[in-house]
Amino acid sequence: MSNNKKVNIFLLIIAVVLFIFLPRFLSGYMVRVITTIFMYAVIAQGMNIMSGYMGYLPFGNAMFFGIGAYVTAIGMSKGLPFLVVVPLAAITAILFSILLGLPVLRLRGHYFAIATIGMSAAILSVVKNATEITGGAMGTTLPIIDKDPSIVYNYFYLAMFGLMVITTLSLYFIIKSRFGFGIRSIKANEEAAISMGINTTYHKVVAWAISALFTSIAGALYAYWMSFIAPDEVFDVMIAVNTVVIMLIGGAGSILGPIIGAFIIELFAEVAWSAFLEYHLAALGIIIIIIVFFVPKGVSGTIADFIKRKKIRARKRVSI
């Protein structure tokens, strides 16, 4: 292991420890804001594997968030414990992603993105109308944890943080593996990829299943955390829109990008809320436009470019 790598791992461990103890110094409100940031980072990692690394934008990914939330709500209303319900939620989402992915992943580019929005809308209307099972459009409640709210919020802060760390680490190892090279090849040039022995259909379906897994567990935690969910909220297309923006700003196709993006966007949204009560969406929109124009590779991509340029310059100096 190189020294550089050792330093990076050391810094990451320090960051993890800091985040674990951070809630002690924050207001209850800020703890909830940061929990939301972690949640968006997880959903953005689900988008990152599909879009950032494989080049397929799953705009309807909110459906897995909703599926995760609803399976959790229904399972817990039947008296199942949370830790049993979460795997069920994940398996349901994965099954959906495979069944829908096999036909839809034949479509490329925008057509795939649009098809997933359609599916998300279809599932939303099923959930809204299957009133006996889902509680219908009015939403449904989950059991409340019988403890002091601040302790409960700390639980969810830690759970969401743990989920974010696990998804990010898994993504890191996936991307470094043979499978990771396979999906990156699909983004780079699908025709070349298939001629190089890559079973593109298999790779696409598995990547979407992983994406569904990440997103559905975030949904499951969210449902238990909120203890009330409604279809229009957990299947909201805006979840996906927000996530795409987070991924782009942090840097699509980079491991830490989605986390950086989630912090930037969510914290900025907080500031925008309080400073521009009436125009906060407009202010957010302007910031997004500015970033897309001036930092098109996202924050982490721009930093990586900067480091690379510095290295090349250093190498040139040596050779002179």
Partner: protein, 258 residues
Amino acid sequence: MGGNNTILKIMNLSKHFGALKAVDEVSFEVKKGEIIGLIGPNGAGKTTLTNLATGAYSKTDGKVIFKDLDISNLKPYQIARMGLTRTFQVVKPLIGMTVEENVLVGSLYGRDKRNTDMKNASKRAKEIIKLVGLESKKDFLVSDITLPDLKKMEFARVLAMEPEVVFLDEVMAGLNPTEVTEASILVKKIRLEKDLTIVYIEHIMKAVMGISDRIVVLHHGRKIVEGTPQEVVNDPAVVEAYLGKRYAKGIKEANNEG
């Protein structure tokens, strides 16, 4: 012809796009270790034939037999893993990756199952990069290297898959005469070292002559001639396809007089 050392058999292969017969009942055989030149004017069906043989297009009719198996209904990735691969007329580098990573993908997903392991694949990729002479460029992004280097990279990527038969689709296109000579030497050298069978697609006749054992000439989707380079250049049908009827007639008359 035929016999045990035939590795690839194209049998009555056809591909129609509506009324256009892009490839029309073409048959020929390729023996192990041979270099076959596949030539013909623009639009003769050379690239379509490559796409059919490697599974990128589905055939209208006919068969492709590779190592005694009918592969004409298999997917491109299955055919590639069996050891029949290709380069592209217009290079298709994996953008966003380095030269080494491009070659690594080839070895990870190639014919040799040991290379599904990252360590083995990476070692293999390094060897191949050395073999084609791209060592000094291995950490460059593919978007930062020149066309001749891209062509070398694409050749390296295919070699990393440990193929038995390679379709080289106009690897010389866009290269200047010096680069063409260099590339020909490289192909010859590696072919011997790796015991490769090569189907060499070109529309520049001169580039194929020196390198091929046999040549197949396509015109309007049909095979018009097959033979040694000498037989092919002197064939009136080939001259006609390339230079037009009047020129061919002139040659015929000259031959008769002489």
